[in-house]
């Protein structure tokens, strides 16, 4: 029963839209439902990136801490978005913190499980890459915009 519920959640999540049933079944084998209370961390900088999250409900803030500045937020994510990219890239360590801003319900995907399945099934790997690369590109683009400081006082 749990698996069929996850099936539906994963199939309906925008990130996995259009994925075939076989791939969904493979992904479901690595998935579980999780929840985080406000203020709880989904992951912390430096820890092993051994999962990523499909956010179903609530908001997650990405932070980095710097001496003298405390935690600085650089991105917030919400419903239908995906939190965590470092699980795809060696050495599979988080580069920042991710904290629940309010109650967050998500699907946690076991990264080692999924990486293993992708090594065996390149079709699954390709389908995942097709979904992650636009996310990476979009976040890189957003970072460029933030770096340009477009709202700053004109020179």
């Amino acid at each position: 029963m749990q698996a069929s519920g996850l099936d539906r959640i994963i199939r309906e999540h925008r990130f996995f839209a259009g994925l075939d049933e076989e791939a969904i079944a493979l992904i479901c084998g690595c998935a579980k439902n999780v929840r985080f209370e406000a203020g709880q961390y989904l992951f912390r900088e430096g820890d092993a990136a051994d999962q990523f999250y499909l956010i179903r409900h609530g908001r997650v803030v990405m932070e980095m801490a710097a001496p003298g500045h405390g935690a600085m937020s650089f991105q917030t994510l919400g419903e239908n978005e995906v939190a965590g990219i470092s699980w795809l890239i060696p050495p599979y360590r988080w580069r920042y913190d991710a904290k629940a801003m309010d109650l967050v319900r998500a699907v946690s995907l076991d990264a080692a499980c999924l990486r293993g399945k992708c090594e065996v099934d390149h079709h699954l790997g390709y389908e995942l890459m097709k979904r992650f690369v636009p996310v990476v590109a979009e976040r890189l683009h957003a970072t460029r915009m933030q770096l340009l400081d477009v709202y700053g006082t004109p020179a």
Binding site: V61, M62, E63, H69, G70, A71, M72, S73, F74, Q75, T76, G78, M101, E138, H141, A142, M145, Q146, L148, D149, V150, Y151, G152, T153, P154
Partner: protein, 285 residues
Amino acid sequence: MSTVLLPDPAPVGADPMLPRVARVLARRRDGPDVWTLDIEEEGGGTGFAPGQFNMLTAFGVGEAPISISGDAASPNRQVHTIRDVGPVSGALARLKPGDPLGLRGPFGVGWPMTEAEGQDVVVVAGGLGLAPLRPALYHLLAERERFGRIVLLYGTRSPGDILFRRELESWRRRLDVDIEVTVDHAGGDWRGHVGVVTTLIPRSAFDSANAIALVCGPEIMMRFAIVALRDVGLADEAIYLSMERNMKCAVGLCGHCQFGPDFVCRDGPVFRYDRLSRLIGLKEI
């Protein structure tokens, strides 16, 4: 002690090149280096349309185009929000209640408020770009029943740079308008969105087949807002931008603000995107 010679007040509709005299009624700080002046013309205001601008003169310093950021329903109290970035804007921003200033205007083409009726309205503002959109927001909220869903997406640098904060908070308490504010970076005490304003567009609920977008902010932000609006299905004809150029005469004579075949002061500052689409990405224009 120097004496400032002021021109006589001119009747409305007289020479558009001749400044009329106005006085500052109130001045308040609306952000780092950003000041809002309420001014009153001698003899009463002329009225304006949301999105239009005035040429304001700091006597003895110079003249600058400044968007009108107040409510068109209160034409006698004209409101301008000014960022102190140079000698003229700095002199205007430092004016105190009672000080005189020169005023020409209002000039230009404003936001398409009539065309927006019956449609969802998506207002996308970046930084100081919220100022020229505020008159449109006043109108949308005052005539709420004439419009579909109203969405305001506002992006700025940091929580300390948010313009009109109290007003945004009061609008947010209304149940008939969606307001999302995002900042490029924030400390741990910020509870809102973090990220560029364009990322809010696909997250927002509006009917892209029956929506109109009003966009104002730094040009690079507007370019990427256009991409995001088109990605969610808005037609080029449904996207309006307020352009900023070096406006001097404000009546389409001097050519300083020429943008392709148009003059921003006379044909804009608000343009429909399909009119600008081939020009807006050019580097030297």
